[in-house]
């Protein structure tokens, strides 16, 4: 029986307000509360609430067959807590079924793994603490921001207690190999790599409602047909989606909910397929080979590299200036400034500065916040400058050796 591993990512940013240079050292409220409230509620109504309800019903119906995993960033959980707590209750109900695994991730959808181990581990641990508080779980599977992964990141994670990492089935990494096998890190062979089959995922995320696509309209039967065409020696099929694919990236009118429902039900009653969570994979499968990732890969675009966030000089500059503040962060005792610094690591902010497909780009169409990457950059740098001042003015004496990790209730 072929194993299918389905994972949903739930990631939303704290958007910045328009923060002018004359706000620097005057105002320290960086986030657009109104907009964040509005957006998370809009997403909740279109996606999270109906999707959670649908999945819960399906799990109750197929208790012994339907297994899924989720990653939900700390920032997103915080947005739920602040603005639409019923969504969080929905996720808690899903976790309570025992059929849903919550994986580890970064606390603020951070790009810290591209900086260094210290900043990455800070994010990982904060998220662990948060997940423990909210869901009472300790994750052993990790799903990094935008599926970013490299050999080194794998080693850090293994050291931190993780045994499975979800990442992209990037073709330049795999070569002739198939993403539908289990792999492991070449240096820490106990760390299993579960690779996304992005062709199949994109069929839904990008092409589901594309009338120009020769496979339009996509039905559950057709989609299972695509899965069948993958050689049977491959034991695994890994499908990771943005949760917002249901109802936002593909609006309800396209029939996306019915598609997912039919697809999951058919898999549940089929004797050819078995749905499993990432942690179950490690019990069932032995890695077929190691996989080398000397450079960071991600799920971005066709290139599967990190250019989406660090491709131009503006992004590189912002990234460099951001992580320059790490020392200040570690020694600061101003929780607001520290939290803001963490939130500025969110990959979304770097998306907004991207000139890769400028002027048109999917993520910018969803969040129509800046009229150009330049405005995004200026706004970001203004905020960063103020955070720097706040961190500098709140340095605690080195004699009081404070805990390295701040509390997650921030």
């Amino acid at each position: 029986m072929r194993k299918i591993c389905i994972h949903f990512q739930v990631i939303q940013p704290h958007l910045l307000r328009t923060y002018r240079f004359f706000d620097i050292n005057q105002n320290h409220n960086y986030f657009d509360d109104y907009q964040n409230n509005y957006l998370i509620n809009r997403l909740a109504n279109r996606c999270y609430i109906p999707a959670n309800k649908m999945l819960l019903e399906l799990i109750q119906k197929h208790k012994d067959r339907l297994f899924l995993s989720f990653s939900i960033s700390g920032s997103t959980i915080k947005l739920f807590q602040d603005y639409c707590p019923e969504v969080l209750e929905g996720f808690k109900a899903l976790v309570a079924t025992g059929n849903v695994e919550i994986t580890g991730s970064t606390y603020t959808h951070s790009l810290a793994s591209l900086n260094n181990k210290t900043s990455f581990m800070e994010q990982v641990k904060l998220q662990e603490n948060y997940l423990k508080d909210v869901f009472q779980v300790l994750p052993k599977t990790f799903c990094n921001t935008e599926l970013i992964y490299s050999d080194e990141i794998g080693e850090w994670l293994y050291e931190a207690g993780y045994n499975v990492v979800l990442t992209e089935g990037a073709r330049h990494l795999l070569g002739w190999k198939s993403p539908s096998f289990l792999y492991c890190n070449p240096y820490e062979t106990e760390l299993k790599l579960v690779l996304r089959n992005y062709q199949l995922c994109d069929d839904v995320t990008l092409r589901f409602n594309d009338t120009g696509w020769d496979q339009y309209p996509l039905t559950a039967e057709k989609f299972i047909g695509f899965m069948k065409s993958i050689p049977t020696e491959a034991q695994l099929l890994n499908l990771f989606w943005d949760y917002e694919t249901m109802g936002v990236l593909q609006p309800e009118e396209t029939g996306i909910f019915n598609f997912y429902k039919a697809f999951l039900e058919q898999i549940c009653v089929s004797d050819e397929y078995q749905l499993i969570t990432p942690q179950c994979i490690t019990e069932l499968e032995i890695p077929s080979s190691t996989l080398h990732a000397p450079w960071a890969i991600s799920c971005s675009g066709d290139e599967k590299d990190t250019n989406e966030w660090l491709g131009n000089e503006l992004q590189q500059e912002a990234f460099e200036q951001l992580f320059k503040l790490e020392e200040l962060y570690l020694k600061s005792d101003n929780p607001e400034a520290k939290l803001a610094w963490l939130r500025l690591q969110n990959a979304f902010h770097f998306n907004f500065m991207s000139t890769k497909w400028f002027p048109k780009q999917a993520v910018k169409k969803i969040f129509d916040v800046y009229s150009s990457p330049y405005q995004a950059f200026i706004n970001y740098m203004n905020v960063l400058n103020d955070i720097k001042i706040q961190l500098e003015s709140s340095q605690s004496e080195s004699t009081k050796q404070k805990s390295k990790y701040i509390k997650s209730e921030l």
């Binding site: 328009t18 002018r20 240079f21 004359f22 620097i24 131009n312 000089e313 503006l314 590189q316 500059e317 912002a318 000139t355 400028f358 002027p359 009229s371 150009s372 330049y374 405005q375 950059f377 200026i378 706004n379 740098m381 203004n382």
Partner: protein
């Protein structure tokens, strides 16, 4: 083609645009007969071949010039009129002439105009006279299309159209709404613009913004209005980066008139200076709002950091761009606005108002609403303080501009011409 100015004697973007357009057409083997009221005989010496008027069998008042390897010709109709301006500015220039500030050249057989105080009548008289000459030219020359630039030439264009029966294209480089604002419309000018566009077989608008104005405010049928964005002439010259002061320099360059929004520049200067006094603001240009702007600067107490250069041209403009760290165009209503392109080709980062046609064709520029002085100040501050941004703009902005070629514009125009020539 009927125009009013040609480089180097230009008052606005019109002459530059006409030059680029005719050059682009020349590259596509379209011959252009360029008629202008008063040629100074030093029109772009690299291309202009001045032909002795005696060679041409026209009224002796006309000077005939040939440029672009005999593909563009000039015919002079003596005039003091400066194109691309509204009536108010016209009066002002005439005032200056009267007061002896400008020396009117005279030589050969050129005719002089005597302004007797009734300026309105004179302006319209010239428009009428230009039309008479146009009719005469139309009867003497062979051509397929008539193309008239801006309202002053529309009567001439229509006259030529009536005489020859050839299709007429009128080119809206600006509208009266841009020049004077919604509530100060000059009816005569508006009437001429509308008349020209109604009679024309096709209307070219320099931006979608202008096209919209033409359709909505003048009631011109949308199907004959085409957007034809301006481009920029590659100068090939290297502009030296260098300045005489250690502070960063932010520049406004343009006519100091209502349309250009100089007051918003002053307001954002004040905001930036409050935070960072190590910046100098330069307002290069002249116009009827000048006294008001100077007063405003004094009132805000930023005179020590705010400088006025008066009207600049030629190499002075290059020097100014060479010194500038940011170029700002806060126009309230700018049909196109070619000067940001010149700044960008000199590697100067630009901040432009969203209410400008040029915003439609630029990606690597910061676009703000003209009234949003906070956003404008923020953009200026950002470019001055985040070097990565300024460097990025210098490179990408230049690429942006290098992709806007008159050759491409000419191609589009030729498609319109060909469409009109079809029976």
């Amino acid at each position: 083609m009927f125009g009013w100015e040609f480089p180097p004697h230009i008052a606005g973007g019109l002459g530059t645009a006409c030059y680029g357009l005719t050059k682009g057409l020349a590259h596509h083997n379209v011959e252009v007969l360029f008629v202008m009221p008063k040629a100074s005989q030093d029109e772009d010496q690299r291309y202009v071949n001045i032909i002795d008027a005696s060679n041409i069998e026209v009224d002796p008042r006309y000077t005939h010039l040939k440029i672009f390897d005999k593909q563009v010709s000039f015919i002079e109709v003596h005039s003091q009129m400066v194109p691309y301006i509204g009536m108010n500015e016209y009066y002002k220039i005439v005032d200056q002439l009267e007061s002896g500030l400008f020396q009117e050249e005279s030589g050969g057989k050129v005719r002089k105009y005597h302004f007797s105080g009734k300026y309105t009548e004179n302006l319209m008289t010239e428009v009428e006279e230009y039309a008479i000459v146009a009719a005469e030219i139309a009867s003497k020359y062979e051509f397929d299309i008539i193309h008239a630039h801006d309202w002053l030439t529309y009567k001439a264009g229509i006259a030529a159209q009536k005489v020859s029966g050839k299709p007429l294209v009128v080119h809206m480089h600006a509208t009266e709404y841009d020049r004077s604002g919604e509530h100060r419309i000059n009816d005569l000018v508006y009437g001429l613009e509308k008349y020209g566009m109604m009679e024309a077989d096709a209307v070219c608008a320099v931006s979608d913004l202008t096209r919209k104005t033409v359709i909505e405010k003048y009631g011109i049928p949308a199907e004959k209005v085409y957007t034809l964005h301006n481009a920029v002439e590659p100068t090939g010259k290297q502009i030296d980066r260098g300045k005489f002061v250690k502070e960063k320099i932010v520049t406004f360059l343009g006519r100091v008139t209502f349309q250009k929004g100089p007051e918003y520049f002053v307001e954002s200067a004040k905001k930036v200076l409050e935070k960072d006094p190590n910046v100098r603001f330069v307002l290069a240009g002249d116009g009827d709002l000048m006294p008001k702007v100077i007063e405003h600067v004094a009132e805000l107490g930023i005179s020590d950091r705010f400088h006025f250069t008066g009207f600049l041209k030629g190499s002075d403009i290059d020097t100014m761009f060479g010194m500038s760290d940011v170029y700002v165009m806060p126009s309230i209503s700018e049909p196109f606005g070619i000067s940001p392109l010149e700044a960008m080709s000199a590697s100067v980062p630009v901040v432009i108002s969203k209410q400008s046609g040029v915003a439609e064709v630029l990606t690597h520029a910061i676009k703000v609403d003209f009234w949003d002085v906070d956003a404008m100040a923020d953009a200026i501050y950002g470019i001055l303080h985040y070097p990565a941004l300024a460097n990025f703009f210098s490179v990408k902005g230049k690429e942006d501009v290098d992709n806007l070629k008159w050759d491409h514009v000419a191609e589009k125009l030729i498609a319109i011409y060909n469409h009109l020539r079809k029976p």
